[in-house]
């Protein structure tokens, strides 16, 4: 008995000593399929790095953003690795809140990162976050309904074609809406879609002197087209539909077309979840022949906050999670179709991936068609395709989103919504000191 106690004591003491020696890093992340998969595969990392323990904090996107902002602004030091998007990276890097990633390792191959994505995550040529998965937006459409309508979707459609196709596909008696688009208010919800769409109509949020542009005809054309299209061919209650609501509608066969994140392709083509899995086609986001398409660019990325005490361990983890080796690891365990998309050029050159993911080429083309540094037809003073990378944008974008959502719901006219948006933007820009 005594011997057993002694052995147990020794064992626990050594376990404690080991635990004390191991460095633990805390990773803040969002709940989506790719991130959850990564958490399951971390054995591969901890085996190679037995002295690093990983703690995960998974939060809903908006809560995460608020939590992480609070912590980073107060230098609370709660997190060692952050999951953030293309909106935050340039702003936070300029505030010196993030550490530049310059020790990712010799075999990391930074140049392999898709240039459009790397551009959105760099400031002054330095990479401040490593992309975990990247996305753009494109058109997902029902091939069977398109055929029934007697039309053929071009690889690069125009907005006029989308309108024509939507009108023909709409069959409300059978519950089919020609087109499903985001309407739920929020800077990352309807405004992500509408800002990207407005780029293809030649609109912009601000001119070179930060003067708001909602009083210009380009915005009027954008919003009027959107509201008319949705009234004629959109689902009922569209003003409360976001990504998830439209995904559910599309998977149940209630949408002829859906223009949204490229990452949705893996959901709508999954026969386990989608009733229309074998009938989905893909095309680039529409344009108006002005040189810009209505697609966005986003990358969920891993960054290291400046307040961390464990920068080396954190960077080792970031390097592992965004490496080529990680893509191969996912492929070997769960198949190529489940590999996080949109980050590395080499993935799109891989024939096995091309075979497993029929949407691969269209995803890459969409990503390449977005240019965060020159997002609009006319020149602008900001970076960002479906957002404006300034701290004021979260609040302002959501306010404008609410106005536009109300216009979609018929609670106000397009003109009223634009006038109020112009007033709100002017007030926010004046308060922020951008204009006098």
């Amino acid at each position: 008995m005594k011997l057993r106690t002694l052995i147990l004591g020794l064992l626990s003491a050594s376990a404690l000593a080991f635990a004390a020696h191991a460095e633990s890093i805390t990773i803040a992340t969002v709940n989506n399929g790719d991130m959850v998969r990564m958490q399951k595969l971390t054995d591969d990392f901890t085996k190679a790095n037995p002295d690093i323990q990983l703690n995960w904090v998974t939060l809903e996107e908006n809560v995460l953003r608020e939590r992480v902002t609070t912590d980073i602004a107060t230098k609370g030091g709660q997190y060692d690795v952050l999951t953030i998007g293309t909106y935050e990276v340039p702003i936070w890097a300029k505030q010196n809140w993030l550490l530049p990633l310059d020790k990712l390792g010799d075999d990391y191959d930074v140049k392999d990162i898709i240039p459009a994505i790397a551009g959105g995550l760099s400031v002054d040529g330095k990479l401040y976050a490593a992309p975990f998965y990247g996305e753009s937006s494109f058109v997902m459409y029902r091939k069977d309904l398109m055929e029934k309508a007697g039309l053929k979707m071009p690889d690069a459609p125009t907005w006029d074609f989308i309108k024509q196709a939507a009108d023909k596909m709409t069959d409300r008696a059978n519950g089919v809406n020609g087109v499903c688009l985001r309407g739920k208010a929020g800077w990352g919800e309807n405004m992500a879609f509408l800002t990207a769409m407005s780029n293809s109509f030649g609109a912009r949020w601000f001119d070179e002197n930060w003067k708001p542009q909602f009083d210009q005809p380009e915005w009027k054309n954008t919003l009027q087209f959107y509201v008319d299209l949705m009234k004629a061919d959109g689902p009922e209650g569209a003003s409360s539909n976001g990504f998830n609501e439209n995904l559910a509608l599309f998977q149940q066969g209630k949408c002829g077309m859906w223009i949204d994140a490229t990452v949705a392709a893996s959901f709508v083509s999954d026969p386990k979840a989608s009733q229309v899995a074998d009938k989905v086609g893909y095309a680039l986001a529409p344009d108006n022949g002005l040189g810009k398409r209505g697609n966005w660019l986003w990358a969920w990325s891993l960054a290291i906050p400046a307040g961390t005490q464990k920068a080396d361990a954190a960077e080792k983890f970031v390097s592992w999670a965004t490496s080529k080796h990680y893509l191969e690891l996912v492929a070997s365990k769960e198949g190529w179709a489940n590999v996080p998309p949109g980050t590395r050029s080499s993935l799109y050159a891989n024939p096995e991936y091309q075979k497993a993911a029929p949407f691969a080429k269209m995803t890459l083309d969409s990503i390449n068609a977005a240019d965060p540094t020159h997002p609009t037809v006319k020149p602008v003073p900001y970076v960002g395709v479906q957002f404006v990378a300034i701290p004021e944008f979260q609040g302002l974008g959501t306010t404008v989103g609410q106005l536009f959502s109300a216009a979609l719901a018929g609670q106000s006219s397009v003109d009223d919504a634009l006038k109020q948006a112009q007033d709100a933007a002017t007030a926010a820009m004046t308060e922020g000191g951008y204009i006098k």
């Binding site: 904090v57 998830n244 979840a273």
Partner: protein, 274 residues
């Protein structure tokens, strides 16, 4: 005749009570039903009969590990309640039995702290927690939960204590009871029903608190509110998993509430009708 009307009234009142109760309970019921569906079933519109799969529960457990969060929830809610009672019983005693001119103002001031939106003090509190090393600590969060619920605890106890005749305490004093003896041996036993229902309500409030418990924790002290939050996703449909996580999180407090409903109702309506 009069009897018939009473029966009819009774039936209508019972039916109305059932309808209201069902309306209030329905969202919880539907969450529980959805938790036994597959993800595909969950998005297929309204359906009250699930296929009965436990898939979501096992995935939720695999992904996050329920018991760590459960343990923290129990510790935080019970701990903060006990702490609150230790502070609130003497406070309510003094206000109920030796009121001064300003007692009402003090009570009102305490309640007024509940009128401010919590987010208004997020930064100061966060900085205090950071500087005292209390971020993500169970002790820090227990104190925080105690503080935010304290006004309600004091108010409830004050209302119960006021119902107890002061003469009984005077009699105890005349028999030579010290202050402590008076509170512990005379007041507390008489106020047990009131204290019990205050305790129950406070445990429920602390259990469901989702602002500070999410914002002041990361991994070590995170309770079930953080557990639920981790299954909410703007991109991807995880309704069945989210429902399973919610059901797991509310089950303990629902069961506790069910068993103690008599106490709770009695406590909440105590002194309401004279």
């Amino acid at each position: 005749m009069a009897r018939a009307v009473t029966t009819q009234h009774k039936t209508i009142a019972t039916a109305a009570a059932w309808i209201v109760a069902l309306l209030i309970f329905f969202p919880i019921l539907y969450t529980i039903i959805t938790s036994f569906k597959s993800e595909q079933e969950a998005i297929q519109g309204f359906n009250l009969i699930p296929s009965g799969t436990f898939e979501s529960y096992s995935e939720v457990q695999q992904q996050s590990g329920y018991f760590k969060f459960f343990f923290n929830s129990v510790l935080l809610s019970v701990g903060s309640t006990i702490l609150a009672l230790i502070v609130a019983i003497p406070a309510a005693w003094s206000m109920a039995f030796s009121p001064t001119k300003r007692t009402k103002d003090v009570l009102m001031w305490m309640l007024s702290t509940k009128m401010m939106p919590a987010v208004a003090v997020l930064f100061p509190i966060y900085l205090i927690f950071r500087d005292s090393g209390l971020l993500d600590s169970r002790i820090g969060l227990t104190v925080m939960l105690m503080l935010i619920n304290l006004p309600i605890v004091v108010w409830m106890l004050y209302t119960y204590f006021r119902e107890i005749p002061g003469e009984i305490l005077e009699a105890a004093r005349m028999d030579g009871a010290s202050l402590w003896n008076e509170i512990i041996y005379v007041l507390t036993p008489m106020a047990i029903p009131g204290i019990a229902s205050t305790m129950l309500l406070n445990i429920i409030l602390a259990w469901n608190e989702a602002f500070w418990t999410i914002r002041l924790t990361t991994t070590n002290a995170a309770p079930l509110t953080a557990f639920i939050s981790s299954f909410s996703s703007p991109q991807g449909l995880f309704w069945a998993k989210l429902s399973a996580a919610s059901t797991l999180a509310i089950a303990p407090i629902l069961i506790m509430g069910w068993f103690s409903q008599k106490q709770l109702v009695r406590g909440l309506t105590f002194g309401a009708v004279k």
